[in-house]
Symmetry: C2
Subunit: 349 residues, 2 copies
């Protein structure tokens, strides 16, 4: 069964809306990549269906405001492209904001920027499935959302499996079998993601993906996002040692996230066969070596943690987390950590 792990909604102090500056910073860095991709790769004349409506989707948009900045960048670049091609009239722009059904769409709709030059649509559902009619999208964007798996791999909760992930909440520092289970789930999820988008994107349409990744040639266990979760794991283990959390609960809790290497992604895209790779690069400077602040970590993970451990432990957990990271130096993980993958795909004609 598909699971969903929404960011914390609303606009309170623990909300995603108030705790997504890191994602904003990374999206800012990707702005030039988006603009370049559109200017160089978007085929304005060769795609007649673009003529009347240009449809954009942000997959895993959460509640804003980052999605609004990215959408503006995309629309400005497409407009520029139309003008340089001598078009005197522009298409109507329609933007589909997608996230899980459990996302706070009320908050998203209430924070829509006034004076926007596009028609708005909210699309609830998992991006691992079909979300849109066939050949209806011209530009798909997804930033820092594709690290989420559709579910935790089942073997991790099977005490008889070599992938049973005792005492850990992630696959870094775990036996190889744990990493393999995560990889297998990621392959299934990305196959479904690419198959769905191949149907939905018009021939010649573009897809831009920003994904936290690992460097070429590394093992999953050397996951670039692993170190970010170590303070959290450590707090959970402390609480277990003090009898606040039941031990078996930690064994059965695993974060459904994965960071792929460039070659893993390249293989999945080639196997799908519907897209050509216009760009696939890693940017070591895009990954921050700052640990997540308690607010940032909580906005992304409190729903999933409350769902597993109960909401009564959440306040205490993140108070401990805040103290723990105050004592930590910035991450020093050398070349094996903190890379951002930027992928531009073009739907084959």
């Amino acid at each position: 069964m598909e699971e969903s792990f929404p960011m914390t909604g609303g606009d309170g102090p623990n909300s995603y809306a108030k705790n997504s500056k890191r994602q904003k910073g990374a999206a800012d860095k990707a702005k030039s990549v988006l603009v370049e991709a559109i200017i160089e790769k978007l085929e304005v004349e060769d795609t007649p269906s673009i003529a009347s409506t240009f449809r954009i989707a942000d997959l895993g948009c959460s509640t804003g405001p980052n999605t609004f900045f990215s959408v503006n960048t995309i629309i400005e670049a497409v407009t520029h492209k139309y003008k340089t091609k001598g078009h005197t009239s522009l298409p109507d722009f329609q933007v589909h904001f997608n996230d899980h059904v459990s996302n706070d769409f009320n908050m998203l709709f209430n924070s829509l920027p006034p004076g926007r030059q596009y028609f708005v649509s909210g699309v609830p559902g998992s991006f691992h499935s079909r979300l849109f009619p066939k050949a209806s999208l011209h530009f798909v964007y997804s930033a820092y959302a594709l690290q989420w798996l559709s579910r935790v791999p089942q073997e991790l909760s099977d005490i008889n499996s070599p992938a049973y992930n005792r005492g850990r909440i992630f696959y870094s520092n775990a036996p190889n079998e744990v990493g393999k289970a995560y990889t297998a789930q990621y392959v299934m999820d990305m196959e479904r993601f690419l198959a769905a988008r191949a149907k939905e994107i018009v021939p010649g349409g573009l897809m831009a993906l920003l994904i936290p990744g690992r460097p070429e040639g590394t093992l999953p266990a050397e996951s670039s996002i692993g170190p970010f979760f170590q303070p959290l794991e450590s707090c959970l283990v402390d609480m277990e040692n003090e009898g606040i959390i039941n031990k078996a609960k930690i064994d059965l809790f695993n974060l459904p996230m994965y960071s792929p290497s460039p070659e893993e992604l390249r293989q999945l895209i080639q196997k799908n066969g519907s897209f050509s790779i216009a760009r696939l690069e890693s940017n070591t400077s895009a990954g921050s070596k700052q640990l997540c602040g308690a607010g940032e970590c909580r906005s992304g993970l409190e729903n999933i943690i409350a769902g597993h451990f109960g909401s009564n432990i959440v306040d205490e957990l993140f108070e401990r987390y805040a103290k723990k990271i105050a004592e930590c130096p910035p991450l020093d993980t050398g070349d094996t950590s903190g890379i951002g993958l930027c992928i531009i795909l073009k739907r084959n004609l």
Copy 2:
């Protein structure tokens, strides 16, 4: 400034979702009208843009579940039409659920029917403005939503105007000037509604509107929906007499709703000029003569009442309302009340 008057969200005892049986009953009666319109009027071969995606919009959908029943009816009828025309493959269906930004879209998305055969989109905003790209919709539906005005006519709150609506909350039993102010607002609103839809609906596309109306040849003050609001007005006046509500507050409170006659609508549609009238009929049996129960009345009006009078009076008001209507006989308003208007429009080619 455009105002919005959302139904009560969520699924609690006072929610619209739990208090919309009357609308369901009326929509059930309209089912045969919808099916007939699609079978007789939808041009499957003449509208090539239908081929890949068939886009439906429900304007003023609220939180469900009625919208889901109507959407199913429409999709079944379109499917039937395609099959009788010998099509072996069907288009993808995409349904845009529209209501004000303040509508509870989270509730709507959480109650989407499992196993549905269409792609979902939620579109926040006023249907008195543009909501969709040009020529992008094939079937527009709106049931019991177009009685809402975009705002209360300004003159009603101007103590120096002959339309100042002292001691009343609606235009029934009011001076002619009050009715005229309502009519003028309705004309402006419907002109904007029709102009927006004329741009959004494909040539040959259909629009089905269900509207509470008045019989041909009656004055606005004989509004068919007026008697439904008299028990509410009477409770407010009682509370004013007891000093619970400030007198000036009632003078300045007016329900932003209007029920047109068939000829008013016909004139507006003809003036717009983009649609031909496939059907415009009134159905006296579609209007119920039952007064609204307290739950039904509250789910539709508590937000607007709380906004004006303060939320502290809402519980008491509807307790009084429940008592008041328990003492009332069913409405006996003869021919001047309770008609439902059913309009099928076809976008000119």
